[in-house]
Amino acid sequence: VSIRLQLLIVALTTLVLPWAGCQYARELESALRGSQERSLLASAGTIANALSAQPQRVFRDVADSGAFSAAQGDLYVYPLVTQPLIDGYREDWDIAADPTPLPTSTGYRARLQAGATEHYLYLFLEVDDRHFDPEPYNVHAGKDRFDRVNLTLQNPDGAAASYFFATDAPGLIAAQSVVKNEDGTQRVLVEPRIQAFWLQTAAGYRLEARIPLSFVGRHLWIEALDGSGDGRAGIGADSAAGGRLFFATTGLDTLLATFIRDGTLATVIDVNSLKLGLAGSLNAARLKESEESPWYRYFLGADTENMPTITAAPDHMSGEPVRAALEGNARAQWALSGTRELLLTAAAPIMIEGRTLGAVVLQQAGDQLLALRDDALTRLFNLTLIATAAAVIIMFGFASWISLRIGRLRNAADSAVGSDGKIRLGMPDSGRGDEIGDLSRGFERLLSRLNEHTQYLRTLGGKLSHELRTPLTIVRSSLDNLESEGLRDDQLRYITRAREGTVRLQSILSALGAAARVEESIKQSERVNFDLRDLITSAVAAYRDGFPAANFALDVPPDPCFMRGAPDLLVQLLDKLIENAVDFCPAGGSITVHLARVPSNYSLQVINDGPLIPEAPLKHLFESMFEQRQGRDDKPHFGLGLYIVRLIAEFHGGAAVAANRADGGGVIFSITLPLI
């Protein structure tokens, strides 16, 4: 794994920043929620306290706190904002709730809803009755059978009055009542102040009635009767108590509105959780429409998922805070509304003389908070992502730079020792103060020591050959003197042997210093124009004399091959190649000297029969002091011969390569020499 990748991985750890940011944001949100809870709860408590000081403005009847029972015919009267038209349609009531079914024992189904404005009570009755039984003309109630709705009202004074609604044709009607004449007969009176609209529908009929509040007391009996059967639904006049009407408190909305701020929905409920009044709205303070959840919300965990869901009902409040408040404890809770918006609900009981008569319920949308959080989070996320990206890019760049420097250093180290055995000093980056610079300087020190050592080795041959020359001369001159002393023949034999030894020593010393001398003579060489073909031809003729044991073949072009260079050096080059070839050529083998003119170069090849050279040493063959093969003669080898070949080839701008013959029978040494 490259350093670049490693640092990239390290850089990725900066992703912990957004994560930490999220954790922080979460805690921030939690704290904000807590404070919102407390503040809303405090507001609820304050409002509850204020309201409990003036109960008559909150409750129509402080004393009456009976339990609400729809089965008993109890009815919540919705406060109506606008006066509905009496037309049999409920749409203008603007109430989300459907009418509630009336109790029935016969399977005759009817549903009722009540609403009130400042002066009127509105009733809306829906009866499932496919067969319309019209009211006969001038009937006496109770005698003939027809579809009717009986209504008994207890007026504020406590006196009851009974009415019924029936019609011979759908349309706008008035309530009728049966009164006893003085003679005991009954007659039907029309009560024009109670107006209704009878609307026939496919499923039955609807009755929308308007009753002045002056007719209406605490109790109400309403019953729908089927004209063509025994079906009936509702609370009949035989019920002692009838259904009770639960009104919202007039003026409480206005009172409440003085307590609250925008964005808060305040609701006052009674002990039955029925709404007595409300003010404010949830939406007013919403900053903006809740957008799509940012994708990273998924990483934050679904903290809202396990919240309870509160479905808002038009007539009553529900949920844990409401239940707790009606038990006398203030409570706040975060919940999700039916439309999955975050909602904070705080409820505080309204206590009057130690009794809980109701509660103040305040609600605030948490979306504001969420929006705030999301906004902060989005910015946090974006910032940290940018920071992370920047960190990653910077780290990547830095890593690339480091690895570039290391790569440069490696390349320099790789090529520090050239194939000619020379050491190139000077490492990149050695001027820098960091560790790579240290490394570079370390390399430099190493190389310079190595260089000193190599220099020493390089010059050792020359020095040795120089230093040994004097003692050798002493030995030889002493032998010379000894010889002149008139020795016996047997003594002379030893002298001769000693002299032969000095001659061999002499040739060893000469070989040792050969490379240094060639290097020196290369420096002093002059270039002349000459015919390479001529040189090779005469040289090969000389080799034929010099090495009679070897078979020389010569293959040169028909035309002269002129080039510019140092012919003496080239002869030395050829000498070395031929010596080498002769050394390894088996008895009876042949040595071919081949000269050809290839585009822009002369190709000089010395090809000999003999053992192959292993692949690995092939490319090192021309390096200084490289000696793999052991020649068969007793001539000294210091691995300098082919190095000299290379020195001379390179002096001429050429190159030397060695290869094994394709037929496996020997080796080829090739020298390329530029034409001019």
Binding site: I474, D480, Q506, A539
Partner: protein, 229 residues
Amino acid sequence: MKKQIAIVEDEPALRDNYAAALARQGYLIKTYSNRSAAMQAFHTRLPDLAIIDISLEDEAEGGFDLCRDLRAASAELPIIFLTARDSELDAVSGLRLGADDFITKDVSLPHLAARVAALFRRIDALRLPANAAEMIRRGALTIDGEKMQTTWNGSPVILSLTEFWIVHALARNPGHVKNRQQLMDAANVVLDDNTITSHIKRVRRKFQHIDTAFDAIQTVYGMGYRWVE
């Protein structure tokens, strides 16, 4: 009267060996191990021949200085450098300073003695009339074997002893190729091939100095050299 030879050589064993060998030839030998001792002696009396090593004790180039001083003292005194150094540069420097020959220490004692004798012979010959029998004439070239003098088109060519013998060997049998070994034998020196090559080069240059068209010494690659008329 015996000829007096001064040997200035810092290596005692070598010095004594040379002295013994030359004394055997009938020369009077004085040996010195350094430049100041030698110069002191030379102030009183100059030898007939000086054999000088280049590096003398502390002075790496003391021989060169000594040669210069000797040459200043006498223009005719024969001087031979006998040294372990075999680089062409040293040889050229030595000869340029006025030495008559430059011999490496590889030379054997009989060769050295022959060389010394040849040098004395040349000096003696300079004072004698020319012996026609010892003359070699090859076109523009004239070699006086007795005086060891060479002329080209009548102009003298100043050759060192080694060079003289090389030219002599080549010109004696024009057209014959002389290999390096033959030339070495002719010059009574043991030199490596390179040094022969540089001697040939120097000889050519000396002739070309007189006659730029000179190309009588031809290289036969791989074999040696021959004289072409």
